[in-house]
């Protein structure tokens, strides 16, 4: 007789980031289907869903509602950092756990959250070091006026500075703002080695489209030069971005076709959002499944019991012909959400000295 375990899904079906939420939701539901189809499992997952519709103020009451009668203790959900912050009080009150499956800027370790996607030492740091050795150390920073853009660019500025590089400029756009003319003018004047794009959604698409025009107009920016780097471009956006995304170099724990990690091993996913949500559900099922200390079981699935973040593969990939081609696959890298443990930074494994010939 299999025991039923009820889990909650808290993803927005409409709103600015609905495509990302849909990918997470798909990954979670795929994992539920796989677990329920496996008759060797001692548990069966039942899904309760709520839709905050992209409205920040709906997350906390809907999450509290799911946790109310105590049947749901695991909620898989949230895309933005602000929505995650909103639900933490409800989780604390009810003793629930949020499984958060999106990349974020770090600087949080809630004991009510398990973080199954990457933080800065698992996406930004490896991406920048990859770029330094190939393109140079003069970087231009663009981002949205939101915690992701502000913090990613602040960390990037620090990393570029400590590597002896230069930040040629930094511009932040209002969320949803697609008027990127000023940003492109600054970029044209700055002539950097690479651009780190931390814009979100439609601003990102507008920027990449304007970059494409710039590449055709200005020989300095011709195809193959002044590469655009991203830690949040995934397969979710590729259909909507079209040719504008070609050539972007992105970092993440997964790209379509790569193997999943931890409890998700053996499964497939079409994007890192889908993958991280799949792994989240597979991990919570593994913990619910067996006896023994949940902390030890978490560690067995690759979750660091101190930070509650997951150790992750690091993939660097380039958009070619509308899909990502993986250029480098390394890891697993243990998360360092406060960027305080240098030994967890990918570059620390290599000697700091460079060979001079």
């Amino acid at each position: 007789m299999r025991r039923d375990v009820e889990i909650g899904l808290l993803y927005s079906r409409t709103g600015d980031y609905a495509a990302i939420a849909a990918a997470c939701r798909r990954g979670a539901l795929n994992a539920v289907a796989a677990i329920n189809a496996d008759h060797g499992k001692g548990i069966r997952l039942r899904v309760t869903e709520q839709d905050p519709a992209g409205n920040l103020d709906h997350y906390e009451p809907l999450c509290a509602d799911m946790l109310r009668d105590g049947r749901v203790r695991h909620v898989v959900g949230c895309v933005t950092s602000s929505s995650r912050k909103e639900v933490i009080p409800a989780l604390e009150k009810a003793g629930g756990t949020l499984w958060y499956a999106c990349p974020y800027e770090g600087f949080e370790c809630s004991d009510r959250v398990i973080y199954t996607h990457a933080c800065a030492n698992q996406h930004l740091l490896p991406l920048l070091h990859w770029a330094f050795s190939r393109y140079g150390r003069r970087g231009h920073l663009v981002g949205s006026n939101y915690i992701w853009g502000w913090e990613m660019n602040r960390v990037a500025r620090e990393v570029i500075g400590s590597a002896g590089g230069t930040v040629t400029g930094e511009r932040h756009q209002a969320l949803g703002d697609t008027d990127v003319a000023r940003l492109i003018d600054e970029l044209r004047a700055a002539k950097p080695d690479f651009v780190l794009n931390n814009l979100i959604g439609q601003s990102s698409r507008a920027f990449l489209e304007a970059m494409r025009v710039l590449r055709a107009e200005d020989p300095f920016f011709a195809e193959g030069t002044c590469t655009v780097l991203s830690c949040n471009l995934t397969e979710c956006e590729l259909p909507g971005f079209g040719a504008a995304a070609e050539g972007v170099i992105a970092a993440g724990p997964h790209f379509a076709g790569a193997p999943l990690w931890g409890a998700g091993r053996g499964a497939a996913a079409a994007s890192s959002f889908e993958a991280a949500a799949y792994v989240a559900v597979a991990t919570l099922a593994a913990i619910e499944e067996g006896p023994g200390d949940p902390a030890a079981r978490l560690a067995g699935c690759g979750v660091d019991p101190e930070t509650r973040h997951m150790e992750l593969p690091v993939l660097i990939a380039r958009v070619e012909g509308g899909r990502f081609r993986v250029l480098e696959h390394s890891g697993p890298v243990v998360a360092d959400p406060y960027l305080a443990r240098r030994e967890r930074w990918p570059t620390a494994r290599y000697p700091a000295l460079r060979v001079v010939t």
């Binding site: 103020d57 912050k85 933490i88 600087f107 915690i147 502000w150 913090e151 602040r154």
Partner: protein, 204 residues
């Protein structure tokens, strides 16, 4: 330095909260009113009454420089940051605004009273230190004037020590600082007018 905190007088003080309508805003208003303050929340524009407020609470997650009617760090009252994201960039920005204390979100049933006291103490200490630094800077910039005044007095046949002692005596007699007395002596030297007469003349 020892601080004595008698039961501080906060009754009737005013607080403005710059945060969108939210459980955090409501919890904060409730605590402020319970303590005895007159409080109101504004978003996204601060009320024009902000200049007269005794305390300003602001959202460190979503506020930006343009929302305050003063330059960053130049708020004329204690500021308290409401922090959700602990990302260093946001902390740095809140400090740049001149946050004298902070509260971590979500805000529950406590913490506001201590934040008010810490912010006020910090703000007053910061302001006193800034005043003192300004006074010291002013005196430092008058060093050359003092040297010129001593040289002028030495020109009348006195040693440096005697000239300085006389300058000090004059400042005491005129009940002003040595720098002010030195400025007067230099001015008198340039116009040739007798120094004491200048002082008396100004007093009339």
């Amino acid at each position: 330095m020892s601080r004595r905190i008698a039961t501080p007088e906060l009754g009737g003080a005013t607080a403005l909260i710059l945060h969108r309508s939210h459980a955090t805003t409501r919890a904060l208003l409730r605590q402020l009113v319970a303590i005895g303050l007159r409080a109101q929340a504004n978003w996204p524009e601060l009320d024009a009454a902000v200049h007269g407020a005794d305390f300003v609470f602001f959202d460190a997650d979503q506020c930006h420089d343009g929302m305050f009617p003063w330059a960053p760090g130049a708020a004329p009252m204690p500021m308290i940051a409401l922090i959700g994201s602990e990302a260093p960039g946001r902390i740095e920005w809140a400090l740049g605004q001149g946050a004298d204390a902070h509260l971590l979100k979500p805000i529950g049933a406590g913490g506001v009273y201590s934040a008010l006291l810490i912010a006020r103490q910090g703000f007053e200490a910061r302001r006193a230190a800034a005043d003192e630094i300004a006074a010291l800077r002013a005196r430092l910039s008058e060093r050359q004037t003092v040297v010129r005044a001593v040289l002028a007095l030495m020109g009348r046949g006195r040693s440096e020590a005697e000239a300085y002692a006389q300058l000090r005596a004059m400042a005491m007699a005129w009940q002003e600082t040595i720098e002010q007395a030195a400025r007067r002596i230099c001015a008198a030297g340039e116009t040739g007018a007798p120094t004491l007469a200048t002082k008396r003349g100004r007093d009339v």
